[in-house]
């Protein structure tokens, strides 16, 4: 049941990314243009997502845990330099390629070849981080370590 719910949410999110066009690499480039006119539609799409999420969370404030059981996922409390540097690196990669991982997965569903290249590189970057964080060793434990 919990997997079915996750699958359904993935489909709804994918449809949202497609209808809004947010998964398109060209979208970001239209938004963050250093010397041109700013196209605010990307911001509008993200704002729309934010407003709806705030509304749903407000309506379900009294829930103590996930409805389908288990416990809510909590992000590890990372030091500010990690979220800062990580965020800038993420933004740099997003800006250079135009893709972010979840959007690229939707593009993969359209058989976009660049999305496959991008996602392979993302996996490589994640494993590279884990190797660096574990003192240069690529071990099963290294892959299992969080952050």
């Amino acid at each position: 049941m919990i997997r079915l719910a996750a699958l359904f949410c993935g489909i709804v999110c994918g449809v949202g990314l497609i209808l809004s066009g947010l998964f398109q690499p060209a979208f970001l480039q239209a938004f963050v243009r250093p010397a041109g006119v700013w196209d605010m539609t990307l911001g509008l799409g993200l704002l729309s997502a934010l407003v709806v999420a705030i509304l749903v969370f407000a309506l379900t404030r009294r829930l103590s845990g996930p409805l389908l059981g288990g416990e809510a996922e909590h992000l590890a409390d990372k030091p500010a330099w990690k979220t800062g540097v990580g965020g800038v690196l993420f933004g740099l990669g997003w800006g250079l390629s135009g893709y972010f991982p979840l959007g690229a997965l939707v593009a993969l569903g359209f058989f976009a070849p660049g999305a496959a290249i991008f996602l392979s590189a993302v996996l490589f970057g994640m494993v590279a981080h884990d190797v660096v964080a574990n003192g240069g060793r690529l071990t099963i434990e290294g892959l299992r370590a969080r952050g």
Partner: protein, 141 residues
């Protein structure tokens, strides 16, 4: 090529609905670092929901096409951009738990800690666009 204003707002609303529903029903945060990262190892039991969610994303175009929507071919940059960008995104996502939709999910729950990462991501994206402009056209036009 990109959606009309109405499509953007409606599509954005669906994304917000999906990320809130996912958290309420399953407790999962809709973020690349968490969803893809958990496939690389981590807390037990997360991989199954991650795979289900990621599969939903990948099949959503096929479902739309089945209901008569036109196939959209993304306009992609050349492979060097995709490779360099992808490695940076993957490394950054794992280092700082950074992601676009994850940050929105945090903001929506009024977590003040989400503001810093959003600003960092936007700063990085801004720098990247200047870099692209310089590298592609040889100067900021």
């Amino acid at each position: 090529m990109v959606g009309t204003l109405g499509n953007v707002v409606f599509g954005g609303a669906l994304i917000g609905l999906a990320l809130a529903t996912l958290l309420i029903l399953t407790g999962r945060i809709m973020s690349a670092s968490g969803m893809i990262g958990s496939l690389l190892g981590g807390r037990e039991g997360l991989a199954a929901t991650s795979i289900a969610f990621l599969a939903g994303l990948v099949i959503s175009p096929a479902l739309l096409i089945a209901f008569g929507f036109a196939r959209q071919v993304p306009l992609e940059p050349g492979w060097p951009w995709l490779i360099v960008g992808g490695v940076l995104v993957g490394f950054g996502a794992r280092l700082g738990d950074s992601s676009v939709l994850g940050a929105i999910s945090g903001l929506a729950r009024q977590s003040r800690r989400a503001i810093g990462p959003i600003l960092a991501i936007m700063a990085g994206a801004g720098i990247a666009m200047v870099l692209r402009q310089v590298l592609v056209t040889g100067g900021v036009s």
